[in-house]
């Protein structure tokens, strides 16, 4: 996210322009996290779109950019967990075995690493996947992760331990 905005600079922009600039600055980061959660770019882009729609609905009440970014991230993880719980999506099992490959990917080693990461993540239940992504990709502490996923810190600790055990097992299987 672009953190170089100042209040004086923001004055120049209308409400609509600020939202457009916000989308431009946060979209790449949200897409990356959404892909780790969904394991599929189409699902990830849908999740980002639904997240940004929720942000737009509350845009007048959000102070830009720090609060809006935190709100967007929290909203995205909660939408993901809620959607997976209610729809009981099991898309991972019916999708192609080889995960989507980002355009312009580089060397074979990196592609293999990414496939390994995604294959292992697919084995996790949604809440564990979300907890792991928040802890180790977003680099948040246990307390903040618990706040975003609306549960106790002890739950995050146990979910993370179980997720790591599953990841270890899956990664050893793929090697």
């Amino acid at each position: 996210m672009d953190g170089n905005h100042t209040a004086e600079h923001d004055e120049k922009f209308t409400r609509d322009e600020k939202f457009t600039r916000f989308v431009i600055s946060v979209r790449p980061g949200l897409r990356r996290s959404a892909y780790l959660l969904c394991g599929d770019w189409h699902e990830a882009d849908d999740l980002v779109q639904n997240t940004l729609l929720a942000v737009l609905r509350h845009w007048d009440r959000l102070r830009w950019p720090e609060v809006a970014f935190g709100y967007a991230r929290t909203t995205m993880y909660r939408i993901f967990v809620s959607d997976r719980r209610h729809a009981r999506w099991r898309l991972e099992s019916v999708r192609a075995e080889v995960p989507d490959r980002p355009a312009g990917g580089s060397g074979e080693t990196n592609i293999a690493d990414r496939e390994l990461l995604l294959a292992a993540l697919r084995e996790l239940p949604p809440r564990q996947r979300a907890a792991l992504t928040l802890r180790y990709f977003e680099d948040l502490d246990v307390a903040r992760t618990a706040e975003i996923l609306e549960c106790e810190p002890s739950t995050i600790r146990s979910q993370t331990t179980r997720a790591l055990a599953t990841m270890r097992l899956v990664m050893s299987k793929y090697r």
Binding site: R32, Q49, L53, R57, D100, N110, R114, Y136, L164, A165
Partner: protein, 63 residues
């Protein structure tokens, strides 16, 4: 067990770092197109919410 966990933790962080350094594929629409789409979706939702507040019209006029 604790060693195993911290090794996995380290490995996962490395995999995440590798993923974060890779280029993203192009999104299905440009940022400007996405914003226009979001505004249209919000307007549609607001319109639907207003419609739900309208009084139900009875099938027959009251006698």
């Amino acid at each position: 067990m604790a060693d195993e966990q911290s090794n996995t933790e380290r490995e996962i962080r490395e995999l995440y770092r590798d993923f974060a350094s890779q280029p993203l594929p192009d999104p299905p629409e440009s940022d400007e197109e996405l914003v226009a789409l979001l505004r249209a979706r919000l307007r549609a939702q607001e319109r639907d919410a207003e419609d739900e507040c309208l009084p139900r019209i009875p099938d027959e006029p009251p006698v």
